[in-house]
Symmetry: C2
C-alpha cells in the first residue's frame, strides 16, 4: 500500500497549513503536500519546523512551472519564481517540486513555441534543483487545460523532456490527468523510477467544470486500482496523495473530508 498524503488544496477553503498539519496528525495521515500560498502564509521556516515536529513526510510542494510568458521579462520572472520554489521545497524537505508548466501566453496560438518556453525554463532551473536535491516533478495536465494551464499534456511528452533533462527530473502522475491516455500503460512502464509523485482524485460523470469539479477517489469512473498497479509495477514506492480541486468538496467539513479520504484510500491503494 502506498501511504496516504494530504494535498492541502483539498481543504483549501477551510484550513490553513497549521490546521492541515494538525488534521493529518489527528487522522493518522503520514504525508502532506502543501501549496505555496499556505506555506508562505505560515512562513517557510515555521512550516518546516511544525511539519517536522508532526513527523509528516512532505511528498511534494505545489507548485512551480508556469514558464510561458508573452515577453522575455515575463519568462525570466517565472524562472526566478521557480528558483524560489526550489528553495522553499528544500527548506521543508519536500521530495519534489510539482510543476504545472503553464499554458499559451496571452493572445498566442503558438503551441510549439509555448512548449519550447517550457523546455527552456526547465533547463534553466535544473542546476538549482539538482543542487537542492529537489526533483523537478513534471506533471502532465489533462489536455482540456492546454490553453491556460499546461501545454504539457501527456505522460509521453513529459518523459521525452525527462530524457533530455536527466538527473533531477521526474514526473508527477495524477490519475485525473492521464487516465484516458491510450498510451498510459506503456508510458508508465517507461517512466519507471522517474515517477516522483502519484496523485489521486476521480473523474465524475458528468463533469461540470474544467478545473474545479474533481471527484473523491471512488466517486467517478477512473480505474484507480488498475493505474495504481501499473505504477507499483514500474517501481514506485512512494505516497499516494489526494488532491481535490472541487467547489463541492471545499464546502464540506475538512475532518469529514479527511475521514472519507482515508477510507477511500484504503480501498484503492
Amino acid at each position: 500500500m502506498f501511504p496516504l498524503s494530504l494535498n492541502t488544496v483539498t481543504v483549501k477553503e477551510k484550513w490553513d497549513l497549521a490546521a492541515c498539519i494538525e488534521g493529518c496528525a489527528r487522522h493518522g495521515i503520514p504525508g502532506i503536500s502543501p501549496w505555496r500560498d499556505v506555506l508562505q502564509a505560515m512562513g517557510v521556516g515555521q512550516a518546516a519546523r511544525r511539519i517536522r515536529d508532526a513527523g509528516l513526510r512532505v511528498t511534494g510542494l505545489c507548485r512551480g512551472g508556469m514558464f510561458p510568458a508573452a515577453d522575455r521579462a515575463g519568462r525570466a520572472a517565472a524562472i526566478e519564481d521557480n528558483r524560489r520554489a526550489i528553495a522553499e521545497a528544500e527548506a521543508i524537505g519536500a521530495s519534489c517540486l510539482v510543476l504545472v508548466c503553464g499554458g499559451l501566453p496571452p493572445g498566442s496560438k503558438d503551441l510549439p513555441g509555448a512548449r519550447e518556453m517550457v523546455r527552456e525554463g526547465l533547463h534553466a532551473i535544473l542546476p538549482e534543483a539538482r543542487a537542492a536535491g529537489v526533483t523537478l516533478a513534471l506533471e502532465p495536465l489533462h489536455p482540456m487545460t492546454c490553453a491556460d494551464r499546461s501545454v504539457l499534456s501527456t505522460l509521453g511528452q513529459a518523459l521525452d523532456l525527462c530524457d533530455a533533462l536527466g538527473e533531477g527530473s521526474g514526473v508527477a502522475l495524477d490519475v485525473y490527468h492521464v487516465w484516458w491516455d491510450p498510451e498510459l500503460a506503456r508510458q508508465v512502464a517507461r517512466a519507471g523510477r522517474r515517477i516522483a509523485g502519484f496523485h489521486l482524485c476521480d473523474w465524475k460523470v458528468p463533469t461540470t467544470d474544467l478545473v474545479f469539479d474533481r471527484g473523491m477517489p471512488g466517486e467517478g469512473v477512473i480505474d484507480i486500482a488498475g493505474i495504481r498497479a501499473m505504477v507499483e509495477a514500474a517501481g514506485y514506492r512512494g505516497f499516494a496523495e489526494v488532491e481535490l480541486l472541487s467547489h463541492a468538496w471545499w464546502k464540506r467539513d475538512p475532518d469529514e473530508v479527511l475521514a472519507i479520504m482515508k477510507e477511500r484510500h484504503a480501498t484503492v491503494c
Copy 2:
C-alpha cells in the same frame, strides 16, 4: 482552399434540414453535413432529392458509433443502428459516416474493455460500409469526453484502428479535438489520404462547458491555419466543415452565423 461545408448542428436550434439546404444555397456554401435527427425528420428520400437539387456536396453524415454498451443486446442494437446509418449515408450520397465511438458503458470503469467494444463494432459494420462505398470516418474526440462520449481519444489511436480495418476506414479530424496533441504533426502525416473529413471550430479561453461551448473559427486559440497546412500536406483535398456545438451560437440568427462562418473560413482555409 478547402471549400466550406455547413454541419447542421451549428444552427440546430433554429433551422431544420430544409432551412439548412436553403441557407447554404443563399450563402453560396457548397457543402453540407447533416445530423441524423434532422435527416430523419425530413425523410431520407426527400432529403437526398433536395440536397441533390440544391447542388450541395454531402461531406458527411453525423453520426454513427456509440458502440460500447452494458450488455450483448445493447452492443448488437448499436451495430444494427450503425448499419441503418450507413444506408442513410449512402442514400444521401455522403462521402463518409462520422463515428463518435462511445464512452464507458454505464457503471463501468473498464476503459480497455470499452475500447475493445469499439473495435468489435467497427469490424462488424465494415462489410456494409465497403459495400455502400461509405467511408467509416473514425473521429477521435477530446480526452475530456472519454467517459461519456468517446473512448477513441487520439488521432494515433484512430489510425491504429484504421491500420487494422483497412479499406473503407478513415478518420474525421476536428481541430477542437486534436489541437493539443504533441503527436499531431506526426500523426496527420501518417494519416495521409485516410483523412475523410476536416472539421473546424475553436477552443475558447475560458471554456465553460465540456461539450457546448465551442467557438467559431478565430474566436479561440487553435492555430487552425497551421493544422490546415498539415492536413493539406498530408494530401487532403476535401471540404472544411464548420461544426459548432455552442449554446451561445445556437441563440443567434442562423443567417448571421453562416455569414460569419463564411468570412472566418476565408481567413483560415
